[in-house]
């Protein structure tokens, strides 16, 4: 349980990002985050970012997502770069919502292998729930 006030009582989302996020994808991710957060009656979101882009380079990919947000308090934590990291994270967080964007085949495969279902893959033009 995170101790920071801004992270208390927040919706936890794991965001896996592998490439630069387009404007359309950013809007879709932001909408997805807002929807998932609101559905739990929360006004804060804690985003764990898994990205092979590294820290802080991953912001190059997700800054549009941050810019799309207005109403939610947001805390963003970098949580690793490899498929193993996401497996460890979802175990630690206990079935969190996972949003995947970009060419993240390894990550999707790793989640698929464990039968993980709470995942949304954002693709330009569509959003698929696995």
């Amino acid at each position: 349980m995170p101790g920071l006030r801004i992270e208390q009582n927040s919706k936890k989302i794991v965001l896996v990002v592998c490439d630069r996020v387009s404007s359309a994808e950013a809007t879709m991710i932001a909408d997805e985050i807002a929807k998932k957060t609101a559905s739990k009656g929360k006004r804060k979101v804690l985003i764990y970012v898994i990205s092979p882009l590294g820290r802080p380079e991953y912001f190059e990919a997700i800054r549009r997502v941050i810019q799309e947000n207005i109403g939610l308090s947001m805390s963003i934590r970098y949580s690793g770069s490899k498929p193993e990291d996401i497996l460890e994270l979802i175990e630690r967080l206990g079935n969190p919502d996972v949003v995947v964007v970009g060419s993240c085949r390894n990550f999707i495969q790793a989640l698929d292998n464990t039968g993980y279902e709470n995942i949304v893959v954002i693709c330009p033009g569509k959003s698929d729930t696995l």
């Binding site: 101790g3 920071l4 006030r5 801004i6 992270e7 404007s23 950013a26 809007t27 006004r43 804060k44 804690l46 820290r55 802080p56 380079e57 912001f59 190059e60 800054r63 549009r64 941050i66 810019q67 799309e68 947000n69 207005i70 109403g71 939610l72 308090s73 947001m74 805390s75 963003i76 934590r77 970098y78």
Partner: protein, 518 residues
């Protein structure tokens, strides 16, 4: 709380922020531009002279936002203080957290980015901030494992400065009102726990008035906050995203007393719209505004300034209650010759005003926007209020006819004493996901308006200096420096238009259009 040994938490900024600009807040704007017409050292001395400090390097005056963070941490019992950037090395042995705030870390904000794009030279605020971050003291602090937390109104700029973020080892960026969230971020940093990379403080975590602490040391030029947020909802502005809160006169007076005790007698009332203090929506109410000014005048013998006011509030307050002339004639003019204030014109186009800032003219209709601007300028001129006004180029959905409308409005503003500064659109507020305005988007119409503004502002700057500004004998060298800059600008004014037109021709040769499809 003070420490003889040193501080664990050092709060600071670079020299362009940590200065009282000779007691002339407006001179601080020189730090948003590149050096022109003067040697760099002289430019910096005029714009951002060093601050007086105590033996621990604590400045007598410090930026108000940093003072709030300092107060929050000191109230929570931390060994924290604001330290002048030239003196942080004194705390290397004790420092565990270095907190840095800024209005414009990388000169990506308005108007810095505009001067940078037009001149091709880095503004001094950017240069100064880089120099600070790469100073031996900051590098040594980082080498010793000090955690770096950055924040303030320009926190968003770090999202576009990832190379610097990495190079300088920034641990956490805090974007938004920090009062309620900063203490445990600092606690985590002190405990060497992992920090979030980026924190955005949304409405769920903004403080109530009672949760905002009083400053414990003097603020730069006596700035005190009288309200937070703004009810107008302009789509380009980040302030409107915050809930509106009024600070009580009692609390304001307490902060002024802190300033006066430190020898800072002047007061800048900070608000997005001073005349909306305890207003009825967007309609000013005379009683609270008069009571506020009475209280300030009773508390200090120094001068008063307003940070911002809206043109609609100025017109309404004067026409409905004669409030502006009452404030000026009965309260302010007996003490000082003029008052300075920042106001936003943004556009002269009714069409664009309706789309981007439909409430900016309220309680008047957006259709009356040009008339509201002109009337407010006349009222200010007649009452010795000197506005520094902004325009915004490249607002989303801007069309050439909108710029023409702005040009027509500027013609009508010629007789009124003012400075008018065009700024390039920087995505903020509800429009923060939109495109930045860049020089390749400049059109002929923009250039004409730029030149109009330059001529208007140079003409009135001379008048303002002759009548009001920097008249104190002690500031004669500053006055001479400013005169030299004005002379340089006047002499080179005729070269500006051809240079901008050449920039435009270059753009046409590369077939870039000024507007994206809308």
């Amino acid at each position: 709380m003070s420490s003889r040994k040193g501080f664990e938490i050092v709060i600071t900024s670079d020299r362009t922020m940590m200065s009282n600009h000779h007691g002339k807040e407006f001179l601080g704007f020189m730090t948003t531009g590149p050096v022109i017409g003067l040697p760099k050292w002289l430019w910096m001395w005029i714009a951002a002279p060093k601050m007086k400090v105590d033996n621990l390097g604590r400045p007598i005056e410090a930026p108000y936002g940093l003072r709030k963070v300092e107060a929050v941490l000191q109230d929570a019992g931390y060994n924290a203080a604001i330290v002048d950037p030239d003196h942080i090395r004194k705390h290397l042995d004790t420092m565990k957290v270095l907190m840095i705030g800024h209005h414009d870390f990388f000169a990506y904000g308005p108007p810095s980015c505009e001067w940078w794009m037009l001149t091709g030279k880095e503004p001094v605020n950017r240069v100064s901030f880089r120099k600070f971050m790469e100073s031996p003291a900051v590098r040594e602090a980082k080498r010793r494992g000090v955690k770096i937390i950055v924040g303030g109104p320009a926190a968003w700029q770090w999202l576009w400065a990832l190379e610097e973020w990495k190079k300088w080892g920034v641990d956490c960026v805090v974007d938004g009102e920090a009062e309620l969230v900063i203490t445990d971020i600092v606690e985590a940093a002190l405990n060497n726990e992992s920090l979030p990379d980026y924190v955005y403080v949304g409405p769920a975590d903004v403080p109530s008035v009672e949760q905002i602490p009083l400053i414990k040391g003097a603020s730069v030029n006596g700035l005190v906050e009288i309200m937070r947020g703004c009810p107008r909802g302009c789509r380009f502005c980040s302030v409107t995203l915050r809930p509106l809160r009024f600070i009580s006169i009692e609390r304001i007076v307490k902060e002024i007393k802190v300033n006066v005790k430190a020898g800072v007698k002047n007061t800048i009332l900070h608000s997005e719209d001073v005349l909306l203090y305890y207003a009825d929506g967007v309609k000013p109410r005379p009683e609270p505004v008069l009571r506020l000014h009475e209280a300030v005048l009773k508390t200090t013998t120094g001068s008063i300034a307003w940070s911002h006011a809206s043109l609609a509030a100025i017109k309404y307050a004067e026409e409905k209650y004669r409030l502006v002339s009452k404030l000026m004639n009965d309260m302010i003019i007996p003490r000082q010759k003029y008052i300075g204030v920042e106001v936003g014109i943004e556009t002269g186009s009714v069409r664009l005003a309706k789309i981007i800032m439909p409430m900016k003219s309220a309680p008047y209709s957006p259709k009356q926007w040009p008339e509201v601007v002109e009337d407010a300028f006349r009222i200010m001129h007649e009452n010795h209020i000197v506005p520094a006004a902004t325009l915004i180029f490249g607002l989303p959905e801007e069309k050439p006819e909108d710029i023409m409308a702005t040009a027509e409005l500027l013609d009508r503003l010629k007789p009124y004493r003012s400075l008018i500064v065009p700024m390039f659109f920087v995505p903020m507020g509800v429009l923060k996901n939109k495109e930045w305005f860049r020089t390749h988007m400049l059109r002929e119409e923009h250039i004409d308006v730029l030149i109009q503004c330059l001529r208007h502002s140079v003409r009135w700057a001379e008048d303002i200096m002759n009548r009001f500004y920097v008249r104190e004998p002690l500031l004669l060298p500053v006055r001479l420096g400013l005169k030299l800059i004005l002379l340089y600008v006047r002499r080179n004014m005729d070269k500006v238009k051809p240079a901008l037109e050449a920039m435009l021709r270059k753009k046409c040769e590369t077939s870039e259009t000024g507007y994206s499809e809308q």
